[in-house]
């Protein structure tokens, strides 16, 4: 059976490598997050066939990056085959960014850096993020950034050019259609820029449109789990009118290459 046929039967895609490049973990201020723990996420992952989830904790993109990073470090140590974490830094604590990154990368299961400029009240190009970009550039690791709107996408264009060895993942692919159009051009322009499809506004035909515009090699499966459920984004991709190879690229092969580049 192909991916479409498996999805119609509600079967986990066990023969497809699925790496969810955009996850969270734990409770959140604004709403209820049932089963938001690592174990709750594993239940969701197993039902769909997600091999590896790449989380940043809600606490870390919110008020306490140490609390959040510890939560993720604990998860990757407990389930090393199922989680690969991001170290999240907060630009409002610039003097601790280098220390926190060093502390995080001591753990084998941490594979990248997460930035949430919107929650932390700074822009993607704020100077306090420079340390994080420099570390990512030297380690050749991914940087997952919350990218929402045209302004954010255009900042990625400039930052990615300054740090060509880091892999930049535009979370939510820019979110709105105008921003996505620019994002598609930027992922084609820069070898080191990717876009993930995590967004609750699950538009009909959006995956097909992104693949036609940017190519399946630059699009990543990200679900935002457990901020919201992984099944809608999974379904958008599994049912998309694109080739089986395109789906496999997006589901996991592209992110595998990004992680391997860091680990080499």
């Amino acid at each position: 059976m192909n991916i479409y046929e498996m999805a119609k039967k509600g079967l986990p895609l066990d023969d497809v490598l699925i790496i969810d490049c955009h996850c969270h973990m734990g409770p959140w201020q604004h709403f209820n997050v049932p089963k938001g723990s690592a174990e709750g996420m594993l239940d969701s992952m197993n039902s769909l066939g997600i091999n590896i989830a790449c989380p940043t904790a809600h606490a870390a993109i919110g008020p306490d990056y140490v609390l959040g990073n510890n939560m993720v470090i604990d998860a990757v140590k407990k389930y090393p085959d199922r989680f690969a974490g991001y170290i999240t830094v907060n630009p409002n604590h610039p003097d601790d960014i280098r220390n926190e990154l060093d502390r995080g990368f001591e753990c084998d299961g941490m594979i990248g850096i997460k930035l949430h400029p919107s929650c932390h009240g700074r822009t993607i190009e704020h100077r306090n993020y420079d340390t994080a970009y420099e570390v990512a550039n030297s380690l050749k690791c991914p940087v997952l950034i919350h990218v929402w709107g045209r302004g954010d996408v255009n900042m990625i264009d400039r930052v990615a050019a300054r740090y060509p060895e880091a892999s930049f993942i535009m979370g939510h692919a820019g979110a709105d259609i105008d921003a996505m159009e620019i994002a598609m051009n930027i992922v084609k322009k820069h070898e080191n820029v990717y876009a993930d499809i995590a967004i609750s506004r699950a538009r009909e035909g959006n995956v097909e449109w992104l693949v036609n515009g940017a190519g399946s090699e630059k699009i990543l499966y990200g679900s935002d789990m457990p901020f919201f459920d992984p099944r809608p984004t999974f379904g958008r991709l599994a049912y998309a009118n694109i080739s089986e190879n395109d789906k496999r690229n997006i589901f996991g092969l592209n992110m595998k290459r990004i992680i391997e580049r860091y680990r080499r």
Partner: protein
């Protein structure tokens, strides 16, 4: 898993002011996408009944779905006081003649902009309640307090909340616990493990499958049910049995 029969209770077709790339608007394209996603029947409204005029859009709906037996009409309704729409008694007769068994309202400020208080919609709600016609209404258009008031004052009126979000539980649980006449359409309900939680706390009979095509993805919608960690019976209830039961219970005579 046995094959799930999907009855989509929230989709539409017709021209819209905003059509995202990759989406569609023609009735024949809705039919094709439904087939792709394994959806066999649908309750549909016309986009012009929402974005332009219920009278115009409802008429276009009836005309365009004639050759599609798998499409069941859902009319957008509104208050009658300005003579833009039928009085409740006229509406009741029109619904009977056209065998329309579900209606929707779009009272939001940025949509058809009317109050749902009794001095505006009271007669309409009473008629719908007496005929057991389910009313589809957007969460964002009504607000929690108004939903609670309508549920309280019209206990026989079945309300199906649409346009839910992943952030709604803290208010939704209280509403579902308090009002048995309240149900949810799940296309927007993307809470992590949310379907499983609602099944356990309130029962699968409170959820109704909808895709919100062509704005939202049919693949996203069916995957929420296909992969739900609930029984096959509960999946069938959500996918088609609950809405079929509601439509069968409508009294138009």
């Amino acid at each position: 898993m046995e094959e799930i029969k999907y009855f989509d209770c929230n989709c539409n077709f017709g021209m819209r002011g905003v059509i995202d790339p990759g989406s569609f608007y023609k009735v024949e394209d809705l039919k094709k996408r439904m087939e792709h996603y394994g959806i066999s029947k649908a309750l549909v409204y016309h986009s012009l009944a929402r974005e332009y005029s219920p009278m115009v859009g409802n008429a276009m709906l009836m005309d365009e779905i004639q050759k599609y037996p798998e499409f069941y009409p859902m009319w957008a309704v509104m208050p009658h006081h300005t003579n833009e729409f039928y009085t409740p008694s006229e509406l009741k007769e029109k619904l009977r003649i056209n065998n329309v068994r579900a209606v929707c309202i779009f009272p939001g400020v940025n949509e058809q902009f009317f109050s749902t208080q009794n001095w505006i919609c009271g007669e309409l709600f009473k008629m719908l309640e007496s005929c057991k016609i389910p009313l589809f209404a957007g969460m964002t258009q009504l607000g929690f307090s108004e939903i609670a008031r309508i549920c309280t004052e019209y206990p026989g009126l079945t309300i199906i909340l649409t346009d839910l979000s992943y952030s709604i539980d803290r208010n939704l649980y209280g509403l579902l616990g308090s009002f048995k006449n309240l149900n949810i359409e799940i296309s927007g309900y993307k809470v992590h493990n949310g379907i499983e939680e609602i099944c356990e706390k309130f029962g699968a009979d409170r959820m109704i499958f909808g895709s919100k095509m062509p704005e939202f993805s049919g693949g996203a919608a069916v995957s929420m049910v296909n992969y739900a960690r609930i029984s096959d019976k509960e999946k069938q209830m959500i996918a088609h049995e609950n809405i079929e039961k509601l439509l069968e219970g409508v009294v138009l005579s």
